[in-house]
C-alpha cells in the first residue's frame, strides 16, 4: 500500500470532467458575470455623465447672446415640478429646460438672466461681488452694479474655473404678481440681470449656483443643487 496520502482537494491536471474542468467552468462563469456587471455599470455611468446636447448661443451683430431664466419651481412639465431651476432660450426663441450651453472661444458673450425667484441669501458674502465679467460689473434692471447685499441674493451664476461670479438679486417679497411656479413670463415680477464675458480658450467648464436655494431640502443643499440640469451645468467653449 502506498504510504503517501493524497490530499483530496489537489486537482488532477488534465482529468476530464473532474475537479479541474468544474473549477475552470466556475471561474469562466464568474469571469463572464463580472464582465457583464462591469459593462452594465459602465453603460449606466456613461449615460449618467453624458451631457445632453448643448444649447447654442445666438449671434446678433458681433456679439453672442445667451438668455437664461430662473424659476422658483419649474412647474408640472418637469419630473421634479417643485424644484428651482435655470432654463435657457434656444436659437428658435423657445425656453428649454437645459443648463448645458455652448459659446464660442475668444469671443464676447452677453448674458441676460431673467430672475423670477425670491432671495435666499449667500452663505459666503464674498460671492456677492461681481467678478470676471467685462468691467467686473453687471446691469440689474439697467442699473450698473458691482455687488449686491449678500442677503438679497437669490442665486449666482458662477464658473469657478474661470473666476466668474455673478450674484443674482432676488425679487423683493412685496412685488406684485410673483411667479410661484413655471413657466414664468416677463409680465410677472422679475429682475433682469445682464453681463458680458470674454471667453478664452476652448474647454468644458462647469457652472453652478452658490446660494443654498433648494427649497424643501436639508439646509437648501439637496435636490436641484445636487442634480445636473437645475442649478448647475456646463458651459462649453468651442
Amino acid at each position: 500500500m502506498n504510504p503517501i496520502r493524497r490530499v483530496a482537494w489537489v486537482p488532477r491536471v488534465g482529468a476530464k470532467g473532474g475537479v479541474l474542468s468544474s473549477l475552470t467552468g466556475r471561474l469562466m462563469a464568474i469571469g463572464a458575470a463580472v464582465i457583464v456587471v462591469a459593462a452594465l455599470i459602465g453603460f449606466y455611468v456613461a449615460d449618467l455623465v453624458r451631457s445632453p446636447t448643448p444649447v447654442e448661443a445666438s449671434r446678433k451683430g458681433g456679439v453672442y447672446h445667451v438668455y437664461l431664466k430662473t424659476e422658483a419651481a419649474i412647474g408640472p412639465q418637469d419630473a421634479n415640478p417643485s424644484w428651482v431651476s435655470y432654463l435657457i432660450k434656444n436659437p428658435q426663441g423657445e425656453w428649454v429646460h437645459s443648463t448645458n450651453f455652448k459659446v464660442p472661444a475668444h469671443a464676447l458673450v452677453h448674458f441676460t438672466v431673467y430672475q423670477f425667484d425670491g432671495d435666499s441669501g449667500l452663505r459666503n458674502p464674498f460671492l456677492s461681488q461681481v467678478h470676471g465679467t467685462v468691467g467686473n460689473r453687471m446691469l440689474v434692471d439697467g442699473r450698473p452694479l458691482k455687488s449686491i447685499p449678500p442677503e438679497e441674493a437669490s442665486h449666482t451664476f458662477a464658473v469657478a474655473q474661470l473666476g466668474l461670479i455673478v450674484p443674482l438679486r432676488g425679487v423683493p417679497e412685496d412685488e406684485d404678481d410673483q411667479c410661484e411656479e413655471g413657466p414664468c413670463n416677463l409680465s410677472q415680477a422679475h429682475e433682469t440681470i445682464e453681463f458680458t464675458i470674454r471667453t478664452g480658450k476652448p474647454g468644458r467648464y462647469r457652472w453652478q449656483c452658490f446660494v443654498p436655494c433648494a427649497a424643501g431640502f436639508l439646509a437648501g443643499f439637496g435636490g436641484p443643487m445636487q442634480t445636473i440640469g437645475y442649478m448647475d451645468g456646463f458651459l462649453q467653449v468651442t
Binding site: A214, G216, F217
Partner: protein, 275 residues
C-alpha cells in the same frame, strides 16, 4: 540524503538582499517619493517615510526571500509526500522574533512621538495642534463650500479671495473650515491635508520652501461637483506676494465691505435658506 540548513540559507539570502535593497530604497527611492520638499511639512513627511522605508525594507526582503525559497525548496515533488515537513516550535526563533519585533515597535513608538512633537508627523495639525512653530505664522483662513475654496487673509484687513498665494519661506497657519458639509483641504505638494468641518477651526502649519505652483484638491467626497473642487495655488517671493495681496484688496474691496468680521470660527449667515 542530508537535509541542507534551510534557515541559514534564508538568513544569508535575506541579509544579502537587504544589504543591496535598503541603501537603494533609503538613498534613491524614498527621498524622491511625494510629497517632495516644497515645504517644511512635506520635507518632514519625506524624512519620516524614508526612516520607515529603511526599517521596512529588510523585513520585506526577508519575507520575499522566505516566500521565494519556500516555493523552490519546499515545492511538492511528484514522488514526494503530499504534506510538508512537520513544523515544530523553536525557542531560539521565538526569542529572536519577540526581541526584534519588540525593538522595532518601541523604536517606532519613540520615533513617532518625537516626530509628532515636531513638525514632521502632522503634530502641527488639528483644532488644538500639539506642535506650534517658533515665531509668528501668517494666518490664512481656508473656507470650503460646495464647491469651491476661498481664502481670507486676516493680516491684510481680512480680505477674501478665490485664489491662494503664499510668500516663500514664511510660516503659514491655515485655519481650515467649511460653510456647509465636510470637505478636506489638500495641497499634496505642501504636505498639507486638513479636514474642513463646519464650525471647526482646523489648523495646519506649513512653511513653503520653493517658489512654484501647487495643486489644491478637496479630499472628502462632498457632493455633485466634488471632482471639480480643485484649484492651483502659488508660492511667490515676498515682494510678489505683497503686490498680489494689495491688488486683491483693491479688486475685492466691494466684497470686503460686506464680509463678517474675521473670526477663526466661521458660522455663516443667513440662517434663512431655501430649505
Amino acid at each position: 540524503m542530508n537535509e541542507p540548513n534551510h534557515f541559514r540559507r534564508i538568513v544569508i539570502a535575506s541579509v544579502v538582499l537587504s544589504a543591496i535593497a535598503t541603501p537603494i530604497v533609503v538613498a534613491v527611492i524614498a527621498p524622491n517619493l511625494p510629497p517632495g520638499d516644497s515645504s517644511s511639512a512635506a520635507s518632514g513627511q519625506v524624512y519620516d517615510n524614508t526612516v520607515l522605508f529603511g526599517i521596512v525594507t529588510p523585513i520585506a526582503a526577508s519575507i520575499l526571500v522566505f516566500f521565494a525559497y519556500s516555493l523552490v525548496a519546499f515545492r511538492r515533488r511528484a514522488d514526494g509526500p503530499a504534506e510538508g515537513l512537520a513544523v515544530r516550535g523553536d525557542e531560539r526563533v521565538s526569542v529572536w522574533w519577540l526581541a526584534v519585533t519588540t525593538v522595532i515597535v518601541i523604536f517606532l513608538a519613540a520615533f513617532g512621538t518625537v516626530e509628532l512633537a515636531d513638525a514632521g508627523a502632522g503634530g502641527g495639525q488639528g483644532p488644538d495642534p500639539a506642535f506650534k512653530p517658533d515665531g509668528k505664522a501668517m494666518p490664512v483662513q481656508v473656507i470650503a463650500q460646495q464647491w469651491e475654496f476661498t481664502y481670507r487673509y486676516p493680516t491684510y484687513g481680512g480680505i477674501e479671495t478665490a485664489h491662494l498665494e503664499l510668500p516663500v519661506g514664511q510660516q503659514v497657519a491655515f485655519h481650515v473650515t467649511s460653510l456647509d458639509v465636510i470637505h478636506s483641504f489638500w495641497a499634496p505638494k505642501l504636505g498639507v491635508k486638513a479636514d474642513a468641518n463646519p464650525g471647526v477651526d482646523n489648523i495646519a502649519y506649513v512653511k513653503p520652501d520653493e517658489e512654484e505652483p501647487f495643486e489644491i484638491h478637496c479630499n472628502e467626497l462632498c457632493g455633485l461637483w466634488h471632482g471639480y473642487m480643485f484649484d492651483t495655488g502659488q508660492v511667490v517671493s515676498d515682494a510678489e506676494f505683497l503686490r498680489w495681496i494689495h491688488n486683491q484688496q483693491r479688486v475685492f474691496a466691494p466684497a470686503a465691505k460686506v464680509l463678517p468680521k474675521y473670526s477663526n470660527h466661521y458660522f455663516p449667515e443667513p440662517d434663512r435658506r431655501g430649505g
